[in-house]
């Protein structure tokens, strides 16, 4: 079977959807030459009416896409830097997201926002290393964080077809992942349906995005002593609460690993919901970035702020020991 890389999966999803639906168009900086590779070949294939290189003008082109959506198109915007989402939070959270409700259901805003390279990119320093997915889940914007090439393809296809705004975070830590795949079997992945990557009976590790791979490595390390179930929510909003509840029925113990800041992060929401509503036989634990973290430049400082396998392993062992 051919190997498919995560980035190629994103590229394939956009191309397939542009082929399938004339209304799909792409906006972004340097999408013509595809500096991120996610849009490679699309300009040549679909032309400048559907693949638009924009000026460095994020706030305007984000709402420009909203207007195009109100007029019937299905734009995808690529942002090269995750912190740009802070700049366009008004255009996504306060404009695009609110149109359906505020108009009493008169319209829809089917725009996809793609972040190929969110989170730390090996010392890109303070303004290029954020992972602001929890902000979007908080305001109720549909938010996907795929971990594997097949899910990157499937979730991006679903996001493009969805009638609401959807932000797709492609963590830089996952971009290099490759997968043996039957390309013909690539399929849309629904929003709000998690995936169990590894079955276990002692503890459920909920891992977001690229941390799924770390969780799988830790589970393998602990195999024989602890049976770890690895649950990948795939979308943070909507979240697969029933899938998580089913997993906790089996394990009763919960550890969340999440590469965003601790306070008010998605990890806190997962722990709170499990504590309120699900079966827990031990206190749940979280591994996250520190409160209010800004990633420092020097590599050892950058890494010191990100969740590590050692932290995750320790949290799993504590969770099991406390049971």
């Amino acid at each position: 079977m051919p190997k498919l890389s995560y980035l190629k999966a994103l590229n394939r999803a956009i191309g397939d959807e542009m082929d399938r639906d004339e209304a799909v168009c792409v906006f972004g900086e340097d999408v013509g030459v595809a500096v991120t590779h996610a849009t490679a070949g699309l300009l040549k294939r679909f032309g400048p009416d559907r693949v638009l290189d924009t000026p460095i003008s994020e706030q305007a082109f984000t709402s420009f896409a909203t207007g195009a959506a109100l007029a019937g198109l299905r734009p995808l915007i690529e942002f090269q830097i995750p912190a740009l989402l802070f700049l366009v939070f008004e255009q996504i959270a306060n404009q695009a997201h609110k149109f359906s409700l505020m108009t009493g259901g008169q319209t829809r805003v089917p725009v996809t926002y793609l972040l190929p390279g969110s989170g730390s990119r090996e010392s890109w320093a303070g303004q290029h290393s954020d992972h602001p997915y929890s902000l979007f889940a908080h305001v109720g914007v549909k938010t996907a964080v795929p971990a594997t090439p097949a899910d990157a393809y499937g979730l991006l296809v679903t996001a493009i077809r969805d009638d609401d705004p959807v932000v797709v975070f492609a963590p830089s830590g996952a971009l290099g992942v490759r997968e043996d795949l039957d390309l013909a079997a690539l399929a849309p992945v629904p929003l709000g349906v998690g995936r169990i990557h590894r079955r276990g009976t002692d503890v459920t590790v909920v891992a977001v995005g690229h941390l799924v791979h770390d969780a799988l490595a830790v589970a393998e390390d602990l195999a024989g002593t602890v049976s770890v179930e690895v649950f990948d929510p795939r979308t943070l909003f909507p979240f697969d609460w029933s899938g998580l509840a089913a997993s906790l029925e089996r394990t009763g113990r919960l550890v969340v690993v999440d590469d965003s800041n601790r306070s008010c992060g998605i990890g806190g929401e997962i722990v709170a919901t499990a504590a309120e509503e699900m079966r827990l036989i031990a206190p749940p634990r979280r591994v996250t970035r520190p409160d209010g973290a800004v990633l420092p430049f020097a590599r050892e400082l950058d890494l010191a702020c990100q969740p590590t396998r050692a932290q995750l392993r320790a949290a799993v062992e504590k969770a099991v020991g406390a049971g």
């Binding site: 420009f64 007029a71 255009q91 149109f99 505020m102 549909k142």
Partner: protein, 338 residues
């Protein structure tokens, strides 16, 4: 539960006013009367949250919309009732929206600052100053891409020309020659701040920087506004790109009805009186025979009586449906308490 769709509730047919001068007057009179009734309903606490009255600026809405086709679209501001009505929304359903009723344009989900009627090309009033300008530009681009000659027109105030996103939108619209008409309503004040205290350089100069043709129009004269808009619309339809019209007028009333009780002082009574002296209603009314004007006034008054009655008598929305329409896909997310 979902509110009943109010589309069939239109209580009035648009009056056939064949004479263009009379038609313009009717729109000005309709908007003026609507705003006066709305202020009364704010005082009566039927309209909560207050409104941003449009009195004094009616010629801009009337003149611009007279130059548009029904299939053209507009984006509006937090001071948007005039635009929404001039584009053809039903006054009764617009008033019901201000009153938060299930029969309102937005089923009571938008209110004064978000009134929208996609059926007549109103892509929504917008409560963030300047925010709708790039939205209109994107819609205009989509029209051109679809091979149609529809245009978009975006209203914004003099306060908005200091918003970065507006100037970014000027750049995109000019760069890509989108069929867009930019209408800056310069009513002299950004809330309490005088235009000269908030705008460095000039409003026309903003457009010049992007190579966008621009001119100042007397925004108290509906015919002047209409004629200038018609030229800008023709330019947009021909593929030549955006035009900026700075329409000058004087805001007769408060920035927001909250001022009726708080009474902040930022202009003198003499100045307001001088501003009110140039009244668009009188400018256009003077162009009609007295009998025509009286007949229109009577018809509009009757229409607004019905609109107010419709708004007052319409049902309030069911709280169980508070988050209906939150997602176009119908997604129902978790409740806040259980």
């Amino acid at each position: 539960m979902t509110d009943r769709t109010a589309g069939a509730d239109r209580t009035t047919a648009p009056a056939p006013t064949a004479d263009p001068a009379a038609a313009l007057y009717r729109t000005v009179a309709l908007v003026r009367g609507f705003e006066q009734r709305a202020v009364e309903l704010v005082r009566a606490k039927v309209v909560l949250g207050g409104i941003h009255p449009y009195t004094g600026q009616e010629a801009i809405a009337a003149g611009t919309c007279a130059a548009l086709r029904p299939d053209d679209v507009i984006t509006s501001t937090h001071r948007g009732h005039g635009h929404v009505l001039a584009k053809g929304a039903d006054p009764a359903r617009t008033m019901a929206e201000l009153a938060g009723r299930a029969t309102g344009l937005n089923r009571g989900r938008g209110g004064s600052m978000h009134a929208a009627d996609f059926g007549v090309g109103v892509l929504g009033a917008n409560a963030v100053v300047g925010a709708a300008v790039p939205i209109a530009a994107g819609a205009a681009w989509a029209f051109r891409r679809a091979g149609s000659d529809r245009v978009a027109l975006s209203y914004f105030g003099d306060g908005a020309v200091s918003q970065g996103v507006v100037l970014e939108a000027f750049n995109l619209a000019a760069l890509w020659r989108v069929p867009l008409v930019l209408v800056c309503e310069n009513n002299g004040f950004a809330t309490s701040m005088r235009t000269e205290d908030t705008v460095a350089g000039s409003i026309l100069g903003r457009a010049a920087a992007f190579g966008i043709p621009a001119r100042t129009v007397d925004g108290t004269d509906p015919e002047a506004v209409r004629d200038a808009t018609a030229e800008a619309v023709a330019r947009a339809r021909s593929g030549a790109g955006p035009t900026l019209l700075e329409c000058t007028a004087y805001r007769f009333d408060a920035h927001h009805t909250w001022e009726h009780t708080a009474r902040p002082r930022y202009r003198t009574d003499a100045e307001v009186a001088a501003g009110r002296a140039r009244d668009p209603l009188e400018v256009q009314g003077a162009r009609l025979p007295a009998a025509t004007r009286a007949a229109i006034d009577a018809e509009v008054a009757q229409l607004l009586d019905r609109a107010v009655r419709f708004a007052r008598e319409s049902p309030h929305p069911d709280p169980a449906g508070a988050l209906d329409h939150l997602y176009a896909t119908g997604l129902r997310a978790r409740a806040g308490a259980r």
